[in-house]
């Protein structure tokens, strides 16, 4: 039997852990998929999620799930264009507070293992700003 899809429970656990963290005196907010137009220059996006059914044990099916977390910092293209320093610090704080997550008891799901990985950084420029992005992927085995 396949248990409930864990996506919303994973997002809830991560949102609870990271939304409002304070890094270098800045309060960093978290958004699902995309930021609102009122978002400040520095924020966290809960990005793509994927799941696969793990049938390796006979006790019941499990989920192999992953989520990509996007750390975004924006600076004006003119003058001081900033650096990746703040993005680094936000990522490190996110890594710390998501190191040992638990899912809502009501979900009936339990995290068996979780691991963090850090894909390549992304940098992009527009006419007005330069955007530094740091990424973290968390992979879960969920029973």
């Amino acid at each position: 039997m396949i248990k409930a899809l864990p996506d919303k429970y994973i997002r809830k656990a991560i949102f609870t852990a990271v939304n409002g963290i304070v890094v270098n005196t800045k309060t960093i907010l978290c958004y699902d998929t995309k930021a609102t137009s009122q978002a400040k220059d520095n924020y966290i996006i809960l990005s793509t999620q994927s799941n696969e059914v793990d049938k390796s044990v006979k006790c019941g099916y499990r989920w192999e799930s992953s989520i990509l977390i996007d750390i975004i910092t924006r600076y004006s293209i003119s003058g001081n264009t900033g650096s990746r320093l703040l993005a680094d610090d936000i990522l490190d704080k996110v890594r710390e507070v998501t190191d040992n997550l638990t899912l809502d008891v009501a979900s009936g799901l339990t995290i068996v293992t979780q691991s963090q990985s850090f894909p390549n950084d992304l940098v992009s420029e527009t006419q007005n700003e330069i955007i530094y992005r740091k990424l973290m992927r968390i992979e879960f085995l969920i029973n």
């Binding site: 049938k55 390796s56 044990v57 006979k58 006790c59 293992t113 979780q114 691991s115 085995l141």
Partner: protein, 145 residues
Amino acid sequence: MSTFIKGEDLILYVHDGTIYRPLACLTSNSLSQTQSIIESQTKCDPGVTIKDAGTMSYDISAEGQYIDTTTAITGALTKASHDYLFTILGTSVTWKLDSGLAGTVAYFGTAIIGDLSLDAGAGDELATFSCTLAGSGEIVTTDPV
């Protein structure tokens, strides 16, 4: 039309004196039988070898991921993992191999747990166990308990 049986449906159980406990969490289990053959060459049957069935022996092996079956909070008190098998190592147990599917045969027998091992890796690798039950007597299709 043939009815295929998935490997995941065939679960190995051991009887604890009250109930059959499923081994947990199994990743694989197998039943291996060997029938010895007695050969004879006599002058009554010149030029040929006569073969008769000798004794039958069998082994059951199982591998799984180690879970806690001693704590009520995990809800696994009715299962048997390394922690339970450890307590009955070297003793004779009644076992059952059953798919639980309608119309399929369950096998029963008595065996001694002769081998039991626990493997614990590093990082996110889950602890695993494996065991071998040395069969004693016949394999039957009716529950002896």
